[in-house]
């Protein structure tokens, strides 16, 4: 219940945060909302020497309209994302997914940036970000990089964010007028997804991404091309598990997950298309 001892800084600017990180090297850990990091520290699964808390950097928080893109600061909480009118209008699937994360208390603290960098394959925010073709803005000593979501997630708990770098914002191309649905399957509420599916659709076009069907969020490209080729929702959804490598655990083995993916994809597509 008690982490190992560490030093703590809470810089108020991005520059200070980056230099604090640079100084401490790989002994440092960034603290976003803390909702994944603090449990890890409390169970002593990790023991950083320094914590750099981003919560006092105002510029990392908030949602803004940037023409055909919406920009979400990395430190924006799940709750803020779920409630944002901008997100609901232009990236509905992300708002819905954010509202399914954990429970209200955790959503009040946990951040979109933190969730993406944490990159838990069962996390709910990777798939919608991937389906929406978002770009992730990463800043380090060498300046700013914009990474397409498809290249951001590299493996279990591994992303393109390097040592000494910070995720500062998530840029989402507006999907105004697209339908969106996030189908999350859990045994008991407030559980991490056993499988979940994010679908974004408009006439004859679908973008579909899967949660917990492999070590990273995955685009269901077979489903997408089937839809593009005019297949029925049912036939397209049947391809949802193609090319995936789902895990087996207490909640279900990989066969069951593969099956769930098809059912949930069908439901997500149907709902997204229904309006």
């Amino acid at each position: 219940m008690i982490p190992t001892a560490f030093d703590y800084v809470a810089p108020t600017s991005l520059e200070d945060a980056l230099s604090a990180l640079a100084e401490a090297g790989d002994d440092a850990k960034v603290l976003g909302g803390g909702q994944s990091l603090l449990p890890v520290l409390r169970l002593r699964l990790n023991a950083p020497e320094k914590i750099v808390d981003l919560s006092r950097i105002d510029s990392l928080r908030g949602i803004s309209d940037d023409g055909d893109t919406i920009v979400i600061g990395a430190m924006t909480t799940h709750d803020e994302v779920a409630r944002s009118e901008l997100v609901r209008e232009h990236a509905a699937v992300l708002a819905e997914a954010a509202s399914t994360v954990a429970d209200p208390q955790i959503r009040h603290r946990g951040t979109l940036g933190g969730a993406l960098v944490h990159a838990d394959p069962a996390g709910d925010l990777g798939a919608p970000v991937l389906a929406l073709d978002a770009e992730l803005v990463v800043v380090g000593a060498g300046g700013e990089r914009r990474i397409p979501a498809g290249e951001f997630f590299q493996d279990l708990f591994e992303t393109a964010v390097g040592e000494g770098e910070l995720l500062t914002a998530i840029r989402i191309p507006k999907h105004t007028g697209w339908g969106g649905a996030y189908e999350k399957f859990v045994r008991v509420s407030h559980q991490w997804s056993i499988v979940a599916v994010a679908a974004v659709t408009r006439d004859g076009e679908a973008k579909v991404a899967l949660t917990n069907m492999g070590s990273t969020p995955l685009r269901a490209s077979a489903v997408e091309s089937a839809i593009a080729d005019g297949a029925s929702v049912k036939d397209a959804a049947a391809k949802a598990a193609e090319g995936t490598n789902p895990p087996s655990d207490l909640n279900g083995d990989s066969d069951y997950r593969a099956h769930l993916a098809t059912v949930l994809t069908r439901r997500a597509l149907a709902r997204a298309m229904g309006g």
Partner: protein, 162 residues
């Protein structure tokens, strides 16, 4: 050790804390606010729920240093002028507690929930309380209490305005 200044239940405290100190430990051990309790080590149970700057959080999942300069309300600060908060009253009236261990967290989360959504349906209440585990009551009476507490809170607020 960093020095923090936190307002808890209306009183401002200034203390040196180890950065690794969790907010819940600071409340319980340094301030003696033992009304807030610890039920798990994975932030699942919600027993430690308090309000941080007006929003419900799990105080086992916040560092005390993160509360520096902020305001915390615990179960001990909910009643005002010796009068129970309508949500506390509702928990009593509806027999929404048995052992009472989950109760402080339940009430704090319920207050947050009805502040956000005074007209929550049963389904919304059930969803909104999903981060708080209770092993005794089966939730039935908790849901009833939150419904009663919601209308009582709303009318109390209305009463204040007029």
């Amino acid at each position: 050790m960093p020095r923090i200044s936190v307002k808890v239940d209306g009183v401002t405290y200034s203390d040196d804390v180890e950065p690794r100190t969790l907010l819940v430990h600071y409340l319980r051990e340094t301030l003696g606010k033992v009304g807030t309790v610890i039920g798990c080590d994975t932030s699942n149970c919600g027993a430690c729920t308090v309000h941080l700057d007006g929003r419900s959080v799990k105080s086992c999942n916040v560092l005390a240093v993160q509360a520096d300069g902020r305001e915390v309300t615990t179960i001990e600060g909910l009643a005002t002028n010796g009068r129970l908060h309508p949500m506390q009253q509702a928990f009593h009236d509806c027999h929404a507690l048995q052992c009472g261990f989950c109760t402080p967290g339940m009430i704090m989360q319920a207050v947050d929930l009805v502040t956000e959504n005074p007209n929550a349906s049963e389904a919304e209440i059930r969803e909104g309380m999903e981060g708080n585990l209770c092993r005794c009551t089966g939730y039935h009476n908790i849901v009833k209490a939150v419904q009663q507490g919601a209308s009582a809170t709303a009318s109390a607020a209305g009463g204040e305005q007029s």
